[in-house]
Point group: C5
Chain length 359, copies 5
């Protein structure tokens, strides 16, 4: 996942223009579902022109679009439901900042559905929702199995959801997306614990790389969740007239989840920063240990080598003052004696400096 993933229009383009190159390979799959407490009609793989119209009284209409294609489907649906062009351009140009906007006629929300890619890195798809009391439109950047689960709940005739209006259905989708953050959070929790173990045992470049990538993913995750908190708070505070009581409870619950996820992300971010510090300290510690070994070996053997070098000098020993030790009877024994004494003194000194306590 690139650091910055955003389809944007060229400077000076009229608002709501399509960003060049934002054409996704995935062909839109449109399906719709209409229900009241007693009835449920659904149809899959339909064309835009076959979509039913809003039936503001008796039924709730849910139109679900999976995949964005070149954006024309979304534009046609936008015209069908008389949605503002600027919002439709947010749907198509993926990489929008998550938000929950409350217009007079409808609410518009952009979220990021977060999952893990095959390499265990964070990935996200953009999900856009339009909803009023009688309809819900959902646009998914890629196919998603999420709506199938909720559709199942509708089909199975659960009372609360079947009797509520479309805002409650929208809350259910919102909540499902936010609930999808928890397994990813759990993944990062496991990852961090693993990295903790590794850093605290041995420290190498590979761990550092993973730590860094984890930090990067955590930052991306936070960026995906943080604006949601604002959006939901505003929605809860400002839209008393729009949302049903059940929906408000649901939003409140989703907001709770969002805030907990942010808390946890914040502490993960802090801990991964701590781990980098710990890693740095450990490397310093290790360098220190390596240095001690080198210093001990050098300090012991360099003087001894010098001594051996001395007794290997070729001064003319026929002169009495030159290297008299060489002709001593126990010269060699005396040499080893000095070596041993020196070594013992140094070992004693190193032990007092605490260098030999733990190598």
């Amino acid at each position: 996942m690139p650091l910055f993933r955003r389809a944007f229009t060229p400077q000076g383009a009229p608002p709501g223009a399509l960003a060049p190159g934002s054409i996704s390979a995935i062909q839109p799959q449109i399906s719709w579902l209409s229900y009241s407490s007693t009835q449920l009609v659904e149809q899959e793989k339909v064309e835009v022109k076959d979509l039913p119209h809003r039936d503001t009284q008796s039924h709730v209409l849910w139109v679900d679009v999976q995949g964005l294609g070149n954006g024309t489907h979304a534009q046609q649906i936008g015209e069908h439901f008389q949605l503002p062009k600027m919002a439709i351009s947010d749907v198509i140009n993926i990489g929008q900042r998550p938000k929950v906007d409350d217009y007079d006629e409808h609410c518009f929300a952009v979220l990021r559905s977060v999952h893990l890619d095959p390499e265990g890195r964070l990935a996200w798809d953009q999900v856009s929702l339009f909803f009023a009391h009688d309809y819900l439109l959902t646009f998914w950047e890629k196919e998603s199995t999420l709506q199938a689960t909720i559709r199942e709940r509708l089909r199975s005739g659960r009372k609360l959801i079947r009797e509520s209006q479309a805002d409650y259905l929208a809350c259910a989708v919102l909540d499902a997306i936010v609930d999808g953050y928890f397994p990813v959070l759990e993944h990062f929790s496991d990852l961090l614990e693993e990295l903790e173990d590794q850093v605290l045992q041995k420290a190498d470049d590979e761990i550092l790389r993973q730590l860094y990538l984890t930090k990067r993913d955590l930052a991306a995750f936070r960026r995906a969740v943080w604006p949601l908190r604002e959006g939901l708070t505003h929605l809860l505070r400002d839209s008393d007239n729009r949302l049903s009581d059940a929906s408000k409870l649901g939003i409140r619950d989703t907001l709770d989840h969002t805030m907990q996820i942010l808390d946890v992300l914040e502490s993960f971010r802090e801990l991964s920063a701590s781990l980098v510090d710990v890693h740095l300290s450990m490397i310093g510690q290790r360098t220190n240990d390596v240095m001690k070994v080198l210093t001990i070996v050098s300090t012991v053997f360099i003087p001894l080598s010098f001594l051996a070098g001395v007794y290997g000098m070729n001064f003319d020993t026929s002169m009495e003052s030159n290297l008299p030790e060489l002709s001593w009877r126990f010269g060699y024994v005396y040499f080893w004696g000095i070596c041993l004494t020196l070594t013992l003194i140094l070992v004693f000194l190193f032990r007092r400096l605490g260098w030999l306590g733990r190598k």
Copy 2:
């Protein structure tokens, strides 16, 4: 205690669903107690079906549940007292963000009761409270001796608590849980002071590990306390009509404690970060000291060894220009003279560089 401990429902599940695997091994122990200023009835180890009903006029009813089992007891009690399903699911799915929610019919609070596990690491259990003016429900994730202490206060007939309504009792429980944070805080205070001493004396990996784990625990502690502050502040500000004056005073006191705990945690967190920095500096300092020893020894002996090597060369001394020193009368004395002079010069230089002041 894992980094992230949260039972969550699968994506798309209806709100209030039970998270898979959240079944706790501890079988719920239900007991109840009903009192007025003159009377007190209590019963232990009862079944859900035998629970008394709310008696909104004369008595305060306190139902206490220790252990969550597979969650069915909580659900049954929820139905018995007509509590919202979503709140009951918060009770069962442990790992909720602490919160104090003020519904119209009752208040709902989730807290973390914090204690130390046998290894001295932070551990917490979730405690959930429902209360209105005439009843209090408490759900403990594990057995707790806390409610026994408060029950004793009720039995001993302390006037204030016996004459007050259930909200005051709830405050007493809240306060007791928050008071339980202080001994843990004291533990971390002691631990940090100990780590301070260790870091400032010697620095090794083990201390780093402990420092890191302490930081992690402090972050978890903070996450347990921080949301409480918000919750209590809102409760105090928004629920004038619900709480009695005595309860408000109590909440205010608890809020004071919460804020002090947060202050202290914040400064602990800062200090433990400082300690990591100090640790890093100390390792650097030590590496520097080790390096100095190595450099002094090497700088003194490497040139001397070279000299000894020179006089160990086998140039043909029959030519006059080759190694004439070897045949000098006091060649050996002269050799040691050079060695001594060189050493003295280097010692003088090192002393001027301040390297010999403190080894």
Copy 3:
């Protein structure tokens, strides 16, 4: 681009004075354009005295000035449109903090149009806008092609923009400037990803220099965008009576973009800080690796050299106790035996210390 680029007046000068040395080399090019939904008149390269007057009823007047020269043009235009002197001095003295000020008669906005200089470093030009319902003045520090694009939209007779008042036109300019931030953001995204790769593979001074300069540019970028967020928020909240609904939608959209840019910048800033940490750790790691090589080589060969030195000593071997090994039959073999044994022991030790796992 210097760290601080601001033309400021000497202390005690009257407000609205021209800062000395703020004369730009670029001669102002003045053009104007007047349109209603049905008509469009435009004229390029005009003198200040030939500028039309405001026609508050039927037409929207857009006067565009490219280049600031010595500031006299701006001052004359200010008198022509009766603008406050202090605002005109903000137009001329470049380096103002971006802002959106709402006066009674008009709005005044200062922005920074951000682009990349030939070396890929961040550069910006100041853009100032005055607008009321019937006119828009735009002052560009340097030539810009931006207004040409919008002028084209006007000429092509796009309905929304032709039927709206001047505030909508101003929004279009604002939005175009903010849209111009995205390609720069993308540039930094690419740059950071490249630096990531480089840091995570090898670490040297050049990368550090680039990282630092990137951080500096990100800080400058943030400083250019941050105040805009405040300004737009205030404009949206406080000027209900001034802005048309379409303009409000436009401002809201621009505000969304601004906030997303700030989010992304914030995370880039964090990541570049992380990269410096990673870089530091990697250098430590590398020093550690180098040290290990040195230590292994030294620890193996220094004792062996000592041994070779010992058997090179010239003790008088006619005494039996002196260097008896020299006259052993397999003395040399025995010497290599010791060498091999010592080396094997050390290799075994190093392997246990994990130093030979990855050199």
Copy 4:
């Protein structure tokens, strides 16, 4: 001073309970003073039962308690003046978070009087104040000379203080305590400047220890002052009816001081963090310098030693191809020539690398 100093009650204890072990060795000394603009009566070393009652009309009563003993005196005084038990328990259980609480009948403030212990480390005593318009109670954890100074002002008949009500007297005490922060601040200012000098000249463990302890004290200092700011702000905003105009001016002044102290503390904290960074860099720099010396010495002498070793080899020189240099006429001169050349080349290289510029 321990990191966390707080007397707390066991979990589940009723509010206002005495914390075990909070008995201070200092026996309470109670004195009182009653004054109007014309009269002043005072009595020292009195018993609680001899205390006068509030005389809400004509006189201001000031009861001063120095030392807390086992808390019974405070409890008796609390009953005498009908103060809430919970507040009295805050008086006795030292280590409260500083606060200014505005009850209906009186104000209650807890502050920390800050001073330096004999070792120059930060120490604090808790001071508690109750005041209404006609009385002031002050409880000092230890003896304090502060009240003597204010008493002197009262005795000397200074008009403003003698004619004002008890709230003005309370402000005088508050202000005196906050004024006591300035000399401590000055102490830390001096200490930091001294540490600056030391760090910038030489860096060792002792400075690091002092820096760390200073940071710790600054954090404790901040924790003592920060909540005061909130408390005073609230008092000033919310209690219009209670405080006289003179008192409000006084509180405003004290608040100004508090905010300045916080500003200065904040910048001290930042600077001490910077100093740790500088210290770390300096150690790195020094290690680098030490390494350079070692590397220069080794790089020069190790190849020379090798050369000397070569000419000390015992190859059979009767074969012409073996060590022919040994029998050269000027072999020894040639050897020294090579040594000198090599050294000069290396010195030249080191100078180009800039290693010899500053040793």
Copy 5:
């Protein structure tokens, strides 16, 4: 400039007391100036007793005091104009936190006039202003040329300032002081760019010292400007009735400047922190480079020296198995062959490790 520069009164002193030792060496120079749109009278070097009285109708009176002396002049002027004692004590006791206080009868502002001392370090003098609609008092800690410039504007009869009331004059002084921050900001901008260059080229202790001192100055600068922002914001929001429209515009402009200065200071502070990090990394990098040189030289020559040592051993070569190489015909050539081979292998290895790419 010391870290903390504040004259404070002893604990318990009455409010408004003079701090001991706050007597400045500079004797106060009092001058006054009275003007209306048509008239202007001025007098220099006057005594306090000769000061004119406020003439609330027709004229604006400006009394300017340069130097504070022992404070008695300020106290006498305070009595002359019936100013509160506490404010006068803020004037005399320099080192106050900058503030803008709005009293009923007048506004009182304390600012810091910032300049550079001869060593290029930040220095500040305290400036205090009292103003109402008809008079302005200015107290300068030291002589200042600032008021001369404004006086000149008055004398030259600039219309806006001559026709406005004293609050506009006060704004002019405020603005002049804030404008004086820009050259200092420019100085730090230049300094940081210079330090950038130095750090990015070579890193030594001197740069670190300068960086640290710059950080310290930036913190002091920020502390001088930050409170001004609050003060001006409050003044603008709360004093609608006091300030004229022209003054409000002026204050708004000054506030803009203040906020820009804070923005820039913030980014300077961040950049100087980054530079310390970069410096640390560079030192690490350099140590690494030094280590590589040492390791390469040692790794090549230590084994070779060992080999030379081996062939310098004195084993009895009359036994065939002892050092047979010594009597080989091309033994010496063979020795150099081994040396060359070993060196080539190591050079190849080092090149593969990337150590020889950049020394």
